[in-house]
Amino acid sequence: MSPVRSEPAEIVTEMSGVNPRKCMRCGKCSATCPSFSKIDIPPHRFVMMVENGEIEALLSSQLLWKCLSCFACVERCPRGVEPSKLVEAVRLLQIRGQGKNYRTPDDVPQFVEADEEIPQQLITSTLRKYSK
């Protein structure tokens, strides 16, 4: 990586390998998103905001924590934009910051106590998604 710190939007497009300009604003990602009822910024708007460089606002978006990584938006996007990759890049941008983890290993005992049937996979993925 170059020593010069790039703009956040550039970092996001580079990390994700996604070109948000390919988006034609059809909204199919938002139409298909299973978390839609729980999010503040719908995926199509998320893509637009990356394109417009509004990363700051995205860092506090609920979508970062409610995206299921189900890849329905990736699969169904007619333009091959891959919105979930942008969400992941912004999420990483957030949790890579010091003390910005959304969940930490300290949270694990409470989960397991609540329900001992919880599969390992669930805890691992939560930590992988929500902490660095």
């Binding site: 009822s37 329905a72 007619p78």
Partner: protein, 661 residues
């Protein structure tokens, strides 16, 4: 030495803005042979051309170099100007300093330098040019139209009305094409059959038109003015002279389970069938795959039923070879397969249809007799959702990159037809953009929304799922940023259109290129939109690109005019840039003969003078009418005997040298 004049065009500011034309004029003055050089605002204008003519006479020029736009643009213009001044037109060379220089470079110094180099290369080549004289060939006064849809029918009618013979080759058993399947047409809501069938009948009855239905083009040879085409007429198993079209055979046919392509597979038909009531010719055909007689040997009811004794199980395919002066491609389109778009449940629910299937449902001759019914349960729908842009405008590897152009309008039409008949049905259209450029088009779309209450929602549908006997449509409203769940009874998908897959084979036979989407390419995207790059082959209708019926008919007429222009000539002037063999160098190896794609090279035993001695040798001879001038033979020739007029080895070498100086 050849006296050369150099003319540098400004092209307004197109060239002069980036290239210092005066500097170019000065720089080339010292080039070998150049006796005159000048610049002019617009060389292609009458003033520019007359300047060329004048200079040729005044300075007794033997050749001219024009530094201007691409030779693909104005080579012919300048050749004509030179010819008018008594020069052989092939003593003109063009240096392309616009498309290949001024338009792509920004730095004036750099562009000027390059323009000088390009001009020098042209001068170097011109110094080796020889006057060339094209040969002549005759024109067969008959045209072939491949495809019998509205595009092909209209082209054929226009040519025939001008007094020339036309043959239509159509692969299906009837002419009419896609338009015959439609119910109404936008933006006037004319009944498609009412305006199409008279044209079909007119074509069939026209004394100058011959129809080859259920036929395919098998082989094409020859060139503009005289194509030889082999047409295979598939066996209908019905004698067309004897059949009176009574239809009794169809009634009696016991095999009634074949998929009916005219209804897009939504209904069944018998093994012996006429595609639809107004088919032309009104002549049945036996689908041998479905016929019990052909599959099991045990039937023959149609033969018994036929009082005209027209059924002929022994009938075989016939091949006809015919000559044509011009060929028109009108191979049409089809809706693309939606196998890869099953998020809309197309292959999982009978109530999810393509627009063309829905068109059949709306049509009185369709599978439901024109009643709007759900195919799953035969009930009347309460709510219908239309989804636009399915497979169009895609960059996902399975769709089409282009806008299919007709979907916005036919969706508005279908929505309107539904609302007109059943105002109580909720109709929702999901769109990304509504594209309605065209006369009375936007008004039409607005009428659907305003007068008929069709609900237009900007946004796409993400998933369609069967839910409690209905279809749940999960979509987005982009203007409200809301996810919507709509219960629908039918979902209609505006599938992207694609060129008919049969076009590829025909294109290859005629050396007509296809673009990345398999549409035929035009000779020039703006200025020669109905001509293919192959001389004598023209394009009509959807095979060239998405277009609606009025545009198709307009293009069909344009293609006919081009054909008429060709057929009205008695002689065609050929391309003099053909291969030529130096018989004193030819060693008779046949390398060239083997790779010539046009069989233009033959070998002859010939008396040849070699170093003052007369010898009999086997030497290559080029047929100048058949040679198309590709030059493949020149490189293959081991002895260097073969060369290409207008692009000789020495000329190209001279260009290389001039550029690398």
């Amino acid at each position: 030495m050849l006296k050369i004049g150099v003319f540098v065009c400004w092209c307004g500011s197109n060239i002069a803005g980036t290239v210092d034309v005066k500097a170019v004029v000065e720089a080339v003055k010292a080039e070998p042979g150049v006796v005159f050089s000048t610049d002019y605002q617009y060389m292609c204008s009458e003033g520019g051309q007359s300047a060329i003519r004048q200079a040729i006479k005044e300075y007794e020029l033997g050749g001219v170099v024009i530094c201007a736009c691409s030779p693909r643009m104005h080579e012919t213009t300048f050749r004509k100007a030179a010819e008018a001044a008594g020069l052989n037109p092939y003593m003109v060379e063009i240096a392309n300093i616009r498309e290949h220089c001024s338009w792509i470079h920004k730095d004036k110094e750099e562009a000027t330098e390059k323009a000088v180099v390009l001009c020098r290369a042209a001068i170097a080549k011109l110094n080796l040019n020889k006057p060339l004289f094209p040969g002549e060939s005759g024109v067969v006064k008959r045209a072939l139209v491949i495809g019998g849809g509205i595009a092909g029918i209209q082209t054929a009618l226009d040519i025939a009305d001008a007094g020339y013979e036309v043959d239509i080759v159509e692969k299906s058993p009837t002419i009419g094409g896609r338009m015959a399947q439609l119910d109404k047409t936008f933006p006037t809501l004319d009944c498609a059959a009412c305006i199409l069938t008279p044209k079909m009948v007119e074509a069939a009855a026209h004394e100058k038109i011959r129809l080859f239905t259920y036929s395919e083009v098998e082989e094409v040879s020859g060139y503009v003015g005289s194509f030889r085409v082999k047409i295979r007429q598939k066996a209908r198993s019905v004698n067309r002279e004897l059949c009176n079209g009574c239809g009794e055979c169809i009634v009696k046919c016991p095999s009634k389970t074949a998929s009916n392509a005219f209804d897009e597979g939504l209904s069944k038909r018998s093994a012996i069938y006429i595609p639809f009531a107004q088919a032309v010719p009104n002549l049945p055909v036996i689908d041998r795959e479905a016929c019990l007689r052909f599959q099991t040997g045990k039937c023959g009811l149609c033969e018994i039923a036929c009082s005209a004794k027209a059924i002929d199980y022994e009938q075989e395919d016939e091949t006809i070879t015919e000559e044509y002066g011009a060929i028109v491609l009108a191979t049409g389109y089809r809706p693309m397969s939606l196998d890869r778009y099953d998020e809309f449940q197309y292959s999982q629910s009978p109530d999810v249809l393509t627009s063309l299937e829905f068109e059949r449902i709306l049509n009185a001759s369709g599978p439901t007799g024109g009643s709007l019914l759900r195919l799953s349960n035969g009930e009347k729908p309460k709510s219908i959702v239309f989804i636009q842009c399915v497979g169009s405008r895609s960059d996902d590897g399975c769709g089409k990159s282009y806008c299919s152009k007709i979907c916005c309008m036919y969706t508005a039409k279908q929505a309107m037809l539904v609302k007109d008949k059943y105002p109580d049905i909720d109709v929702t259209v999901f769109y990304i953009d509504v594209r309605t450029p065209g006369k009375n088009f936007d008004e039409f779309y607005r009428r659907a929304a305003e007068a008929y209450g069709v609900r237009y929602v900007k946004g796409m549908v993400g998933k369609v799922a069967e839910w409690k006997g209905r279809l749940q449509v999960q979509a987005v409203d982009l203007l409200e940023d809301k996810q919507l769940l709509i219960d629908a009874d039918m979902v209609v998908l505006a599938a992207a259109i694609e060129p008919d897959p049969g076009a590829r084979k025909i294109g290859a036979m005629l050396a007509v290129n296809m673009d990345q989407n398999d549409f035929f390419t035009e000779a020039h995207p703006k200025l020669r939109p109905v001509e293919s790059p192959t001389a004598g082959v023209f394009l009509s209708g959807m095979c060239q690109g998405p277009k609606d019926i009025p545009e198709t008919v307009a293009q069909a007429g344009a293609a006919a005019v081009k054909v008429l222009g060709l057929l009205s000539k008695d002689k065609l002037v050929g391309n003099p840039c053909v291969a030529i063999s130096d018989e004193t160098l030819c060693n008779g190896c046949s390398s060239c003969e083997a790779l010539c794609p046009y069989d233009a090279i033959t070998f002859e035993e010939k008396q040849v003078m070699v170093q003052g001695r007369r010898e009999t040798r086997r030497v290559a001879m080029v047929n100048e009418t058949m040679c198309q001038g590709c030059g493949a033979c020149t490189v293959a020739c081991p002895s260097g005997a073969m060369d290409l007029k207008g692009f000789t080895n020495r000329q190209i070498m001279a260009e290389v040298d001039a550029i690398c100086r």
